[in-house]
């Protein structure tokens, strides 16, 4: 069996990495902010925000994709806003695939980060305040660095999820080779193609390997950080 990938497969992998990379770059900062608010504040509508954040986890991906399609088509509520203000269109574009991956990965990214904020001893921040730290300084110099293991764990989980996202993506931006055909969609297409099985298998192995590597890498990084600090706060 040959593990040599065809140019088409390479382009599928490259696209998947691009989509997952954009999704993570966009989602992690948002997730950090939302996780921090959910972990440290009790505001009116807390449960509603929390539920919305977790919705993609339990909603059938087709429904998530459908909702994205309705919102982000050229004449949709968000689609027309994006188009008017930034001249961006995501419908049937690779950026749309990244958006779908972001939404689907969001709860997976946000949860470990929220946990990382929740386990922090609030007295650490109190001490920082008495030493002259403003709220923002306290967040940037204490809360955020202490949450790094959680942020990394969330990012890795989210990246793996974004790489393999299928249902919402195919519903939202369809399965266009070279534009929206990411890993899972590529495998799906190959399996529908006569003699495509072998090529599909190499893509599958690639998917398995990257997922493995991501999880092991994150474990190593998180351990490295907590060993340097002697653990306990991750």
């Amino acid at each position: 069996m040959s593990l040599v990938l065809s140019p088409e497969s390479w382009s599928i992998i490259a696209l998947s990495l691009r989509v997952a990379g954009l999704a993570i770059a966009f989602t992690v900062p948002v997730a950090v902010l939302v996780a921090y608010l959910l972990a440290t504040r009790r505001f009116w509508g807390w449960h509603l925000v929390n539920a919305i954040c977790h919705l993609p986890l339990v909603l059938p991906p087709v429904i998530t994709g459908y909702l994205l399609l309705q919102g982000f088509r050229a004449d949709g509520l968000f689609g027309s806003l994006l188009d008017n203000f930034f001249g961006i269109s995501v419908a049937f574009r690779w950026t749309g695939a990244a958006l779908a991956a972001s939404v689907m990965a969001f709860p997976l990214i946000m949860r470990p980060i929220r946990l990382a904020f929740e386990v922090q001893n609030p007295e650490v921040l109190e001490v920082a305040k008495t030493l002259g730290a403003s709220k923002l300084t306290g967040f940037l110099t204490i809360s955020l660095p202490l949450a790094i293991p959680g942020i990394l764990a969330g990012a890795v989980l989210g990246f793996a999820k974004a790489m393999g996202e299928f249902g919402a993506t195919i519903t939202f931006v369809s399965n266009i080779p070279g534009e929206t055909q990411t890993l899972a969609l590529g495998i799906y297409s190959l399996m529908q193609t006569p003699n495509g099985d072998r090529e599909a298998l190499t893509l599958i192995m690639f998917g398995v390997l990257t997922s493995f590597a991501a999880i092991i890498l994150s474990e190593i990084v998180v351990r490295g950080i907590s060993r340097r600090r002697g653990g306990g706060d991750a």
């Binding site: 001893n121 007295e123 650490v124 109190e126 001490v127 920082a128 305040k129 008495t130 030493l131 002259g132 730290a133 403003s134 300084t137 110099t141 204490i142 660095p145 202490l146 340097r228 600090r229 002697g230 653990g231 306990g232 706060d233």
Partner: protein
Amino acid sequence: MLEVSVRGSRGNFAYEYVFGVTEGITAVWGKSGAGKTTLLKVIAGLEKPKTGSIRFGEQRWLDSGTRTFRDPRRRHCGYVPQSGILFPHLTVKKNLTYSNRISSRKADVALETMTALLDLDQLLDRYPDSLSGGEARRVALGRAMMSNPSVLLLDEPFSGLDDQRIVDISKHILTLNRKFSVPVLLVTHSLREVARIADLMIVVSDGRVLDAGPVEDLLPRIGTDPETGSSSVLISGKIEGYDEVYGLNQLNVEGQTLLLPGGKLDTGVRLRILIKASEVLIAADAKAKTSARNHLNCTIQRVEELPDNRVQLWLGVGTQQIVSEITRFALDELGLSMGKQCVAILKSVSLSNHVFQRDSA
């Protein structure tokens, strides 16, 4: 210098603190759950009372009348919570310099001076979790000091430390207080630690300040120590000599001499001894020959009845006071009563466990 008069609640714990503090070391003493930590947090600005005022020197930190509330970061309190709580992701050195890096506060004292003073030189590159309990407390003290504090607020600075570490930390607290003349408020539940280190004390119970004043005045008023079930008092004196042959320090207390076994202390050093009522024997006159070498002539000032046919005698020694707990039988047998002279007998060995040096030297 620090004047507090506030009222508020934290969850369903209501508090009302009224007291004043001068320079020196003030112990906030009370049982657990009495509201000692809340009192510190009120001063630090981490707990906002509903009404009242806090004045520190010329500064108004709180005034509910004019809706003044000074943010914790502008109060410059060196707050050290229980067990120190260092920043776990920063090295000891970065913990120490945190305040200087993130704010415009510049310490009056160089980092090298502070690390030498607190014996931290070997620890600078270590992370907090690799430190022992005593080391972590010293770093926390140093971190607070490097922020140029107007007052040090220490929450149970001795909890969880063994005796040697307690001696060590209290020596450092004394040094910081005397050398940099920064007033210290420290929370403790242990009368022994109050006796060891504090000049003033504030007695807290159920969210209220029951009593405040010099430790020597307050200890006799507090009555029973919940830890030992016995009354305790402090007497203080000055070292005036050393007996090389027997290894005994001579302590002058109101013109009388107490002998304290142990290493030689410098002449002139002031000591404070915590004396427990249960450890003081009474003789009717000085003729009794005993193995105890410490006899203090005193006058019975008050006889207090206790349960189980016990009595507590309050005895005047010059201007100071000690206390002895004996049975009513002994009281009657010896014919002791108010105004009579008697001799208080103290065992040197038991005394030496409760001797605290008052100078940082």
